[in-house]
Amino acid sequence: MSYLSIEHLDKSFVRGNLASQVLKDINLNIAKGEFISIIGHSGCGKSTVLNIVAGLLDPSLGGVILDGKEVRGPGPDRSMVFQNHSLLPWLTVYENVEVAVNKLFKRSMGKRERRDWIEHNLALVNMSHALKKYPQEISGGMKQRVGIARALAMKPKVLLLDEPFGALDALTRAHLQDEVMKIQKDLGNTMMMITHDVDEAVLLSDRIVMMTNGPSATIGEILEVKLPRPRDRIALAADPEYNHYRRAVLSFLHERHRLH
């Protein structure tokens, strides 16, 4: 049984008399603990898919079912890591996670337990050294770590990542990718990530969902990545199988569904 299923999803944006169809008939089943990437050219509506799963947008037709329940509106069971981190600049690193934890677990956890949980999640992303820093005092990569800690601290059923490393430099990005892989291995989270980076998709994913170009974008192909875990980026660089997957995604994006 699938844990998260997206069924016959259509999305049109209507402005006045003009309706433009962005997504058409998206169907996807995701198992518990699976890591899914959605890749496609910019403007193909991949972020729209994620926003619908998050509940920030309503589908025009079809729907999303998570753990047997239909998604209606946003909720902490589908926590999101935003591309631009979306930390609140007037709160410290600790307080940014605390806002989420206090809201969600005020009744179920004691004060001390909540504090430990916040610190635990920040330790997971190696941010224990900067609990009292403000977002403007830390680097972009660190902000994104805090964003990940905040999302993890919500104990989500599925973690949604919207181009989480897109704004980071290549070295920081690689570092964070490794950390996300480690966290997913340890915690077994179900994750759904939007990306436009082919290497990132192959390295992290169990399956890569490749989208056709819009308007009326849909899923063109789904590639199962059967590389054994844990995956090591240096060993994989020379691995023929890895390069086979990489080539498959590249050929989808740049030969069959090139942007005109």
């Binding site: 998050a54 509940g55 920030l56 509106g73 946003p74 909720g75 902490p76 589908r78 926590s79 999101m80 935003f82 631009n84 979306s86 609140l88 600049p89 007037w90 806002v99 989420a100 809201k103 969600l104 403000y134 403007q136 919500m154």
Partner: protein, 289 residues
């Protein structure tokens, strides 16, 4: 410290050398800062004073020169707290009376202004309904409200408070509304994912996100209310720095007027800096988005 020095004599010497030189360099740096920041305005002030003295020293000059101003107002300067009953009180009491009016009217304006700003920032309907009215009303000069409020309140004291209120409220409303409209979608998304309720959203997202804008409005508002109270007091009388000026004019005490102007300027400056300082502390210097 001493014990350390004895145990590690090798370290003692450089430390004892470093200390006084650091102090000295601090003193030198703060001295240089004072020289850079304080000397130019003092020089200009002196030059302007000399020009003023020369221009007004003639036998038939209409305005007194600075030396005469100081001589004639010396009693007011050295004893700001005298109280001979009625309106005949020291300048400190006059200023405090005005400040008290400003404080009451301004606080009312802050509360009502932020509340209305939140309303029109949050609701499109309220925005469409209220914004045109506000845009017209805010151009009405403060003193034009005075006769109407005197007629309405039948008393000068609440009328003065009302004039301050109505003067200060517009920039507060408008800036608060702009701040709330400009809350980034990111923060709204965070609030939605966390399912914050109205009050939680107001406290954790809305107020802090809009704070830089709100404080811009508060700062403009406090400046305007200080402008308005001086003018209003000239008309309504009683104790207050505005009426002090009017009284001095009627008694041809031009030097008193000049002294009062200096005090008004300084108080206005302090009020502005005070609000700016509070804003700086609360927003911790985070710029408006």
């Amino acid at each position: 410290m001493n014990a350390n020095v004895k145990l590690q004599p090798a370290n003692a010497e450089p430390a004892s050398i470093a200390r006084p030189s650091r102090l000295a360099s601090l003193a030198r740096r703060s001295g240089r800062y004072a020289a850079q920041q304080l000397v130019p305005p003092l020089v200009i002030l002196l030059v302007l004073g000399v020009i003023w003295e020369m221009l007004c020293s003639g036998a038939n000059a209409a305005l007194p020169p600075p030396s005469q101003v100081v001589a004639e107002t010396w009693e007011l300067i050295i004893d700001p707290f005298y109280d001979n009953g009625g309106n005949d009180v020291g300048l400190a009491w006059q200023l405090l009376a005005s400040l008290q009016r400003v404080a009451v009217g301004y606080v009312l304006a802050v509360v009502a202004g932020v509340a209305l700003g939140v309303l029109i920032g949050q609701s499109d309907w309220a925005m469409r309904g209220l914004d045109p009215i506000f845009q017209v009303l805010r151009t009405v000069p403060p003193l034009a409200w005075l006769p109407l409020s005197l007629a309405g309140f039948q008393d000068s004291h609440p009328s003065a408070l009302f004039v301050i209120f109505i003067t200060a409220i517009w920039p507060i409303i408008i800036n608060t509304a702009v701040g709330i409209r400009n809350i980034p979608q990111d923060y709204r998304n965070v609030a939605q994912v966390l399912q914050l309720n109205g009050l939680e959203y107001f406290k954790t997202i809305m107020l802090p996100a809009a704070a830089p804008y709100i404080f811009t409005g508060l700062r403009i508002g406090v400046g305007l209310s200080w402008l308005a109270i001086i003018a209003a007091e000239m008309l309504i009388g009683g104790v207050g720095i505005g009426f002090f000026i009017w009284d001095a004019w009627n008694a041809s005490r031009i030097s008193d007027i000049i002294l009062a102007l200096v005090y008004i300027g300084v108080v206005g400056f302090v009020l502005d800096r005070l609000v700016a300082f509070v804003g700086q502390r609360i927003t911790r210097g985070i710029p408006a988005n």
